[in-house]
């Protein structure tokens, strides 16, 4: 019997690796932002203590279908992110997967964002609704770029099987696709300059305003896993596939770490853009880049 699927789901890059790694990357982000602002920043275990503390909070009782939905959204987000992590083509030499798993990965990556939007509307808070609307508009804009980038990579690799997409390629289309993915990550993670959806000081915490206790802790865990998933996806597209597992696994973490540093530096050095400007950025500039990339990839494919 082949246990590689279970190992991926529970060990690497699944639950046992992903939860501490996600918390570590959240800490790296906070620490990097703090260092850039010449502060000291939080201690290493801060995300862990935050999570434990939130589990110990007693939340006010809410009744009806709303309460159940609000409790389920973060659970769905965490589960879909763990499943998406298990699909990542780490150790491509031993990877399973199936033809077309790239499409499933895109679907699973969207679940947290959809849950976040639904949570905002379900909570009944006006701030939640404003935040959810912002997230919906921004995710439509950034998803166009992200899908086009992934399709560009798939077209250059002539496959929708993630194992075939993994690893560096001589084809420039692959690298333009990776660049497009990197451009989308700040919007997906709601980082500055695209952080309008959960803009504190303005609309409280956006869709999460009404959340408290364990459910809020799960949302924070989902955010940590999202960090790992998105940086990990780019890492698998960059890292050479022929490496032995004991070189690949540390290299994977190092590449993710460097991406987190880059994204934190961008977040610390930019201010929050208005919704209109964020959407303009994706539709006007990033989408143009992505359309050029996919059309050139398609042309090259037919020529070769």
């Amino acid at each position: 019997m082949n246990y590689s699927g279970l190992i991926r789901l529970f060990l690497f890059p699944g639950l046992i690796f992903a939860v501490p790694a996600g918390w570590f990357f959240v800490w790296v982000e906070h620490k990097a932002v703090a260092r850039i602002q010449r502060r000291i920043g939080p201690p290493l275990l801060q995300p862990f203590w935050d999570f434990v503390k939130l589990l110990g909070k007693r939340t006010p009782a809410r009744s009806g279908i709303d309460a159940n939905l609000l409790r389920l959204y973060p659970v769905f987000s965490v589960l879909s992110l763990v499943a998406a992590l298990a699909l990542l083509p780490v150790f491509p030499a031993h990877a399973g997967g199936f033809s077309g798993d790239c499409v499933l990965l895109v679907g699973l990556m969207e679940v947290p964002s959809i849950c976040y939007i639904l949570a905002g509307f379900t909570s009944g808070s006006i701030y939640g609704e404003i935040g959810a609307t912002r997230e919906a508009l921004l995710s439509v804009a950034s998803n166009v770029v992200m899908l086009l980038s992934l399709v560009t990579i798939a077209v250059t690799a002539k496959s929708f099987h993630l194992v075939d997409l993994a690893g560096p390629s001589l084809n420039p289309g692959h690298w333009v696709g990776v660049l497009g993915l990197l451009l989308c990550i700040p919007a997906k993670l709601r980082l500055n300059p695209f952080s309008t959806a959960g803009a504190e000081q303005e609309i409280y915490s956006g869709p999460l305003t009404e959340y408290a206790g364990a459910a809020l802790g799960l949302w924070e865990l989902a955010h940590a896993l999202e960090w790992l998933l998105l940086t990990g996806l780019v890492a698998t597209l960059i890292l050479p596939t022929a490496l032995a597992w004991w070189i690949y696994a540390p290299a994977f973490v190092v590449v993710c770490f460097l991406e987190v540093l880059l994204l934190s530096a961008i977040a610390a050095s930019t201010a929050r853009l208005t919704l209109e400007r964020s959407i303009n950025f994706y539709w006007r500039w990033a989408a143009v880049l992505a359309v050029l990339a996919i059309s050139s990839a398609a042309v090259m494919r037919f020529r070769l």
Binding site: K53, G56, K57, S205, L216
Partner: protein, 156 residues
């Protein structure tokens, strides 16, 4: 204390999240509280984080004497913070109404309406004193959580 309670106690001390309410303050204490987040004092190294929603917070930081207009907001925000929670009154106004005492629009002091755990006196208090007050409140809150769990008391 069981192992789980010890872990929760430590987590509560290490991760106090604060929510700030201005209940008619002259803005002096608010400026000093925001200074705590700046590079010079950097409360994030103690795990203290200023939250945008009272639902996410553990410690309520209230500045100002309570005015008639803000009374309902203060009571409401206090009710929104989930147990275990603690309240820090920042500045002399919270304790005594200070120079605003006797004003027809001031209905304070704060302790008439909600239980206050830590008073940070001063007009305005020094940021170091505010950080000390929040840190003390985090310990009070952790002790309170453990006590209630041990007794199995119903939570309000």
């Amino acid at each position: 204390m069981s192992l789980l309670q010890k872990l929760l106690h430590k987590a509560r001390v290490k991760s106090p999240r604060i929510f700030h309410i201005n209940s008619g303050s002259c803005n002096g204490c608010d400026i000093e509280l925001i200074t705590c987040l700046s590079p010079r004092y950097d409360v994030e190294q103690l795990g203290i984080h200023l939250e945008a929603s009272p639902r996410h917070a553990d410690i309520l930081c209230i500045t100002g004497p309570v005015t008639r207009n803000t009374l309902e907001a203060v009571k409401n925000a206090y009710a929104q913070v989930c147990e275990p929670k603690a309240v820090v009154a920042i500045g002399s106004c919270g304790a005594t109404c200070n120079v605003f005492a006797g004003s027809p629009s001031v209905v304070g002091p704060l302790s008439k309406y909600i239980p206050v755990d830590v008073y940070v006196p001063g007009c305005p208090p020094h940021p170091d004193a505010i950080i000390n007050g929040i840190f003390e409140a985090a310990h009070i809150l952790a002790e309170r959580g453990v006590r209630k769990e041990a007794k199995g008391l119903p939570q309000e």
